[in-house]
């Protein structure tokens, strides 16, 4: 099939000019795009307001999608469980016995913990989540791993707050608009999170690799103490995340750390909780240059 003849200019001046104008306009569009792209690569937050308005407008559709998603996963799970009931029952009974033992041990540890904290004069405070909401969308066709949640500035969400599912950390709030927020997921290649091993006190950084896995990079190089299957929890360093929340499980030990998998699967998570920044003073401190005195009205973030 040949293109319609109206687009062949022939000898008509008017037609020739309109074809030429088309090219010029398209080129101008490309140049505008290149300039905007350069600006947003230079200042990533440059267009966050416009983006926020767009996502706010789309959010109701995302809520419907989120509900459909949680229901459909439930149906599949129910059928699967039905087929595995017998073997699972035996396995669960065995696990239950072990868990009872561990629970008794854990109670003892809690008692000891309380006693030690009293000695140190620390207050045992439970952090109440700022808001509990749903994941309404994600950037499923881009290499960057962002998600959108259905709560924003009006619900008290602020930039930097950790987002977690019942299983563990999902990510951190990156941009806030009035009714939605953009979350940087742990798997994004720009995400870095201070962690420690739950087994011993190995401190490390969990970096996203951009392919769904996390890279655990040890802070102290030397003999690598990580074993396959080790659980990593937040260490509390940096002040954003409170310590002791599950992050990832090591799946493969490498020279300088490990490759790990996220504990929580955001696509299966029904609800996520946005938690307040654990230690706002510490976060403000890390963002203040060493030459400026803290508390003297520096960066009031």
């Amino acid at each position: 099939m040949a293109p319609p003849s109206s687009r062949r200019a022939g000898h008509s001046r008017k037609a020739q000019y309109s074809v030429f104008t088309g090219y010029v306009l398209a080129a101008v569009g490309a140049v505008i795009g290149a300039v905007l792209l350069a600006i947003s690569l230079w200042r990533p937050a440059a267009f966050s307001d416009v983006r926020g308005i767009a996502v706010d407008a789309v959010e109701p559709v995302g809520q419907v999608g989120a509900e459909a998603r949680s229901e459909s996963s439930g149906v599949v799970g129910t059928i699967r469980d039905y087929f595995r009931a017998g073997s699972q029952n035996a396995q669960l009974r065995k696990e239950n016995e072990l868990a009872r033992l561990r629970l008794a041990e854990a109670e003892a540890v809690i008692q000891e913990n309380k006693r030690l904290k009293k000695l140190l004069g620390l207050q045992d405070q439970e952090l109440a989540p700022v808001v509990v909401t749903r994941l309404v969308g994600s950037t499923a066709s881009s290499t960057r791993r962002f998600a959108y949640i259905g709560a924003g500035r009006l619900d008290g969400v602020r930039v930097g707050m950790p987002v977690r599912s019942p299983r563990g950390i999902v990510g951190r709030v990156l941009e806030v608009s009035s009714n939605t927020s953009r979350v940087l997921l742990l798997t994004d290649s720009e995400s870095v999170l201070p962690v420690r091993s739950a087994r011993d006190d190995t401190v490390a950084f969990a970096e996203g690799r951009g392919n769904g896995q996390l890279r655990i990079r040890l802070v102290n190089l030397g003999i690598n103490p990580i074993k396959k299957g080790d659980l990593f929890v937040t260490s509390g360093a940096g002040g954003y995340y409170r310590p002791g929340v599950a992050v990832a499980i090591a799946t493969e030990v490498t020279n300088d750390g490990a490759v790990a998998r996220m504990v929580t699967d955001p696509s299966a998570a029904d609800f996520v909780a946005v938690e307040p920044i654990w230690q706002p003073e510490l976060v403000a401190g890390t963002q203040t240059p060493a030459s400026t005195e803290l508390g003297a009205g520096g960066s009031g973030n």
Partner: protein
């Protein structure tokens, strides 16, 4: 005549006498379907890797290839801007790449005017592949080999999906030109 065959005065676009297409529908449907294509991947949660093909871009390609001349040459600017707002790419990336794609397809069309299914598919596949790869470059993240491997499934899905998109665009095109308006 109508008593013998009630469809005698109709064709695939509806009744032929006294009817014409609705201008609003005829001109807005292409844009609406491209915007929906940009919106759809956002509604899926994928925390691990990009799996959804860039549906907005593929709808643009579909309309551009199936109906040359319907979308103006500069259509990449507004449509790409909408895609940028939702896709997670830095703002401007889709504006640039969609505009370049419109120019590239125009040039391919001028060079090879007699097109067919395979040529359409090949040019769409080339355009989609370079779009996905360039989008990775412009994503604002440090480039790693892992990113490239992880985008391969997405690439494959996108290339295989083009004929489906083309059929869908053809169906939308028939819907767009349905004779709905009654002329007095």
């Amino acid at each position: 005549m109508e008593r013998i065959n009630p469809r005698s005065r109709t064709d695939r676009y509806g009744k032929r006498i006294n009817r014409e297409p609705l201008p609003l529908l005829a001109y807005s449907l292409p844009y609406a379907s491209i915007l929906l294509g940009s919106l759809l991947p956002v509604l899926f949660i994928s925390a691990e890797m990009p799996l959804m093909p860039p549906l907005g871009f593929m709808m643009l390609l579909g309309w551009r290839i199936m109906r040359p001349g319907l979308l103006p040459q500069w259509a990449g600017l507004p449509l790409g801007a909408f895609d940028d707002l939702l896709s997670g790419q830095p703002f401007g990336s889709a504006i640039l790449l969609w505009s370049l794609a419109m120019i590239a397809i125009e040039l391919v069309e001028a060079r090879f005017p007699w097109r067919g299914f395979w040529q359409d598919w090949i040019s769409a596949a080339l355009a989609t592949t370079s779009y996905i790869l360039l989008a990775i470059v412009f994503s604002g993240a440090k480039l790693t080999g892992a990113m490239l491997t992880v985008s391969l499934p997405q690439l494959l899905i996108a290339v295989m999906l083009y004929p489906v998109i083309a059929r869908f665009v053809a169906w939308l095109d028939r819907l767009r030109l349905m004779r709905i308006r009654v002329v007095a």
